[in-house]
């Protein structure tokens, strides 16, 4: 692992060396990865930890008495405690449940806490900006047993409208809310929401998929009752995620999936479930992936989540300023206008160019952004769009990535007919060669003659 400076401003050039994939090229150009909200890249620290485990220690956990089985178990449970400490869990050994991902974690709450405590006519509250993972499990329950869903609305700036918060929560048993929107980047006022929910007697189920990887998290201070997040969004592998739940709530819950590991005893006439957290972990868990998640947590802890937040805030501010300066009214950024109110997620629309087309042209320049509804269709409807393009930042992004994004967007604009007549848009790019920054170089521009009949929408060949 590269030596990291203790500083609020991250040494991104050094950090990038830790991420092998960021050295690759796409369509002959250096990759500019701006889709960490969908999935983050992995540092060698994580990849090495997983490989080492697989090559030296792998065995099934909680079973064998032989040396490597004991070692595998030790590593697995150490990862559990490690990630628990990372989020400030009061009792990590008991309160951290490994699931497949955040989605499965939220389903776990719906299928256990929801089945036990929600009955016909009961009310739960969700927000208009929720990811489908914190909507659909509740719809499934609603269809099954007639629970009622109320919605906290979102204003035009992408903030929750809280004027009627107490009325909306009145009589509700549960509040489902995202700590940070994966579309708008909005950081929700968790303190206020938790206080109001608890006052109304509702438990708070938080979606931490975007927040835990990018902000310091302390579940005790947050006050939520459950929070779910995914390893692959925080520099870890796919296939593992976490549900944290308050000990007294988890202890009270029935099992989720049934099978081995989650039992104390199985007889012909029934079974005795295991204690928490293993009660909710049926079958052989993703052991290698748990080791990977632990290594990801170590890496993030070494960088420092305060530094990560400071870096991404600065970068988001730079991005919003740059895009506004360069494109003015042609580009609309959804969500809070103040970078301080949001994480490093920027959904935007660019003139009348469809997000698919934006995304494809950006791809030709090596820029990776996401286009679509981002698993938030109710939010899309509220925003009045079918889809947006979305750029998102991680700790390995820097201002030159933003500049490249802007340059590629300008190319997209030129391709679809620039609003500035008679100009050729030229791109500049600071080239990275093996981690060393070299002098800026001009991309070959691709002129679009003004009078040329508009070609069919195929992106240009690179170079």
């Amino acid at each position: 692992m590269a030596q990291l400076k203790e500083s609020d401003v991250l040494d991104v050039a050094t950090i990038r060396k830790d991420f092998p994939l960021l050295a690759r090229e796409v369509h002959g150009r250096p990759i500019t990865y701006l889709d960490s909200a969908a999935s983050a890249q992995r540092p060698t620290h994580v990849l090495d930890a997983m490989r080492t485990y697989d090559e030296t220690t792998h065995a099934n956990v909680h079973r064998g008495v032989y040396a490597i089985a004991e070692e595998a178990t030790r590593l697995f449970e150490a990862a559990r405690v490690n990630v628990g400490r990372f989020i400030g869990a009061p009792d990590p050994a008991r309160e951290i449940v490994f699931a497949k991902n955040a989605t499965e974690g939220l389903n776990l709450v719906a299928h256990t806490w929801g089945r036990k405590h929600l009955h016909s006519g009961d009310v739960i509250v969700l927000t208009e900006m929720e990811h489908h993972a914190n909507i659909v499990p509740w719809h499934i329950l609603a269809e099954e047993r007639g629970i009622i869903i109320r919605w906290l609305p979102v204003d035009d700036d992408g903030q929750l409208i809280l004027d009627d918060l107490d009325q909306v929560l009145d009589g509700a048993k549960l509040l489902g809310v995202t700590c940070m929107s994966n579309v708008l980047g909005t950081l929700n006022p968790m303190g206020r929401l938790v206080e109001a929910a608890h006052a109304a007697g509702a438990v708070v189920v938080a979606d931490g998929a975007q927040s835990v990887p990018h902000l310091p998290t302390d579940v005790a201070a947050l006050g939520v009752d459950f929070i779910a997040f995914s390893a692959h969004k925080m520099l870890g592998p796919t296939g593992i995620g976490v549900l944290w739940g308050r000990d007294e709530l988890l202890s009270d819950l029935p099992p989720f999936l049934g099978g081995g590991e989650m039992i104390l005893d199985v007889r012909k006439d029934g079974f005795t479930p295991n204690d928490i957290p293993w009660r909710f972990e049926a079958g052989t868990p993703p052991i290698t992936e748990a080791v990977g998640l632990g290594a990801a947590v170590d890496y993030l802890r070494a960088v420092g989540m305060d530094a990560v937040r400071a870096h991404e805030l600065s970068l988001t501010r730079y991005a919003m300023d740059t895009l506004t300066q360069r494109f003015g009214d042609d580009l609309h950024i959804f969500g809070p206008p103040d970078a301080g109110d949001r994480g490093g997620v920027l959904s935007f629309s660019y003139r009348d160019v469809h997000p698919h087309d934006i995304s494809q042209i950006l791809d030709q320049y090596g820029v990776c952004v996401r286009a679509g509804h981002h698993c938030a269709k109710p939010l899309m409807r509220r925003l009045g769009v079918n889809a947006t393009a979305r750029a998102s930042f991680g700790l390995y992004n820097d201002e030159s990535d933003v500049d490249t994004l802007a340059d590629a967007l300008a190319e997209a604009g030129a391709f679809f007919g620039s609003s500035a007549p008679g100009t050729l848009e030229r791109c500049t790019r600071t080239e990275t060669t093996g981690g060393r920054r070299v002098a800026p170089d001009a991309w070959p521009g691709r002129p679009v003659p003004r009078d040329h009949p508009r070609p069919l929408p195929f992106p240009p060949e690179p170079g």
Partner: protein, 131 residues
Amino acid sequence: MCGDEIVVTLEVDDGVVSDIKIAGTGCSISQSSASLMSAAVKGKSVPEVRDLIHTFKGMMSIHESTLPSSAGSANAGGLDLEPIEPEAIDIDALGELAALQGVVKFPVRIKCATLSWNTLAQGLDDVEALA
């Protein structure tokens, strides 16, 4: 997956598509494909339209499989299987639609190009069901 929606309104008189209207929002590829489709289809008989749909989808590399199911998927597990000969596509029959050939270079966008065509095929099925 992407959020695009297309509505195809068909008028079929005596087995001929006498009128066709397209509405909806979509990306440039889905819009241009839909627009070219409606021009190509108007005035053709239903069997001719079905042929055109088949030919267009063939150009988009969507071939109805004629392999027996025991053959499995091509190149499964690195096995050396006979390459499947795609049936010859009459590109000339497609006229202006041939311009969309380049879409196959971007597999993710094939669905954009075929969205309106799949909707059209569904519409023809609905017409047939009513008859």
